[in-house]
Symmetry: C2
Subunit: 164 residues, 2 copies
């Protein structure tokens, strides 16, 4: 509930804002943000079909490609999913030869899971499809709107990293 930013930041603002937004305002923004995110992803997700892999697999693969090799439990935590769920996702990725699994030399209980070159290629292909679709839609925005959007996304990204 607390607002963490200092008064100092607010001085640099162009307009004068109240120290806190009203509850109503916050709820309204939250509501629209929620519904907009749902509809956006619903559209974008359809581009993934072309990769032949489901969203959970693509998302896990992306963690491996961009975050490097991981143990199963680490992957599960990164994806906010329980270990049995990740176990199946990884099994699917391995079946499609998108990841390679070896035992951790220091701890035989742990798996060392990493993306294969094919995995990297597939991920980049899928990513390109999604992003290019989205970009094609955003292309209808004016540069100002795009800049506003970019700023808002940055705000959200930072906020997300602090959520529980």
């Amino acid at each position: 509930m607390s607002r963490r930013r200092s008064i100092k930041n607010q001085k640099s603002a162009i307009k004068n804002f109240p120290a806190t937004a009203s509850r109503q305002t916050v709820l309204a923004v939250a509501d629209r943000l929620h519904s907009t995110a749902i509809h956006l992803l619903r559209r974008v997700r359809k581009q993934d079909i072309a990769t032949g892999e489901g969203p959970a697999r693509l998302s896990a693969l992306s963690v491996l490609v961009f975050g490097g090799p991981k143990a199963l439990g680490e992957l599960a935590a990164a994806e906010q999913v329980k270990p049995p769920t990740m176990s199946r996702i990884v099994a699917g990725l391995a079946r499609s030869q998108l990841v390679e699994i070896t035992a951790d030399p220091h701890d035989a209980r742990r798996l060392h899971i990493r993306a294969t070159p094919q995995g990297r290629r597939l991920l980049h292909k899928g990513r390109r499809l999604r992003i290019e679709y989205l970009a094609a839609q955003l292309d209808h925005l004016t540069p100002q709107e795009l800049a506003q959007l970019a700023a808002a996304v940055a705000i959200l990204q930072r906020a997300l990293s602090n959520w529980r």
Copy 2:
């Protein structure tokens, strides 16, 4: 690919923007927007567990509550899902007595599906949980940031309504 906005709009901007954003910029914004939306929804969705109904049912119920009674095919189209999928979703909602199904008096093939009072109550409860969770997180933003976010969401909402 075309940029649809006129020069006129750009004159009223505070800063000078180029007439079009670079391809790189658009792709980068699309990429971050995509990943941010995914992570945001992944968090928010966990609030839904308390309602005892899955996301597809809650979403369909929401269409009925806010959009009024619908036939099954209309619901499927609104949710961008195929009829057999919606058939099962509606069956589940009916089993939980969240919707009521009668035959369309003018066309016996069509179903007349509408939310029951319980359905309305459950939806509003779930919605409140999600939105209040999101709002609690947004509450950490400064009023300026919130305003930026709200503006960006409005831009996105408008853009979404024009997508194919």
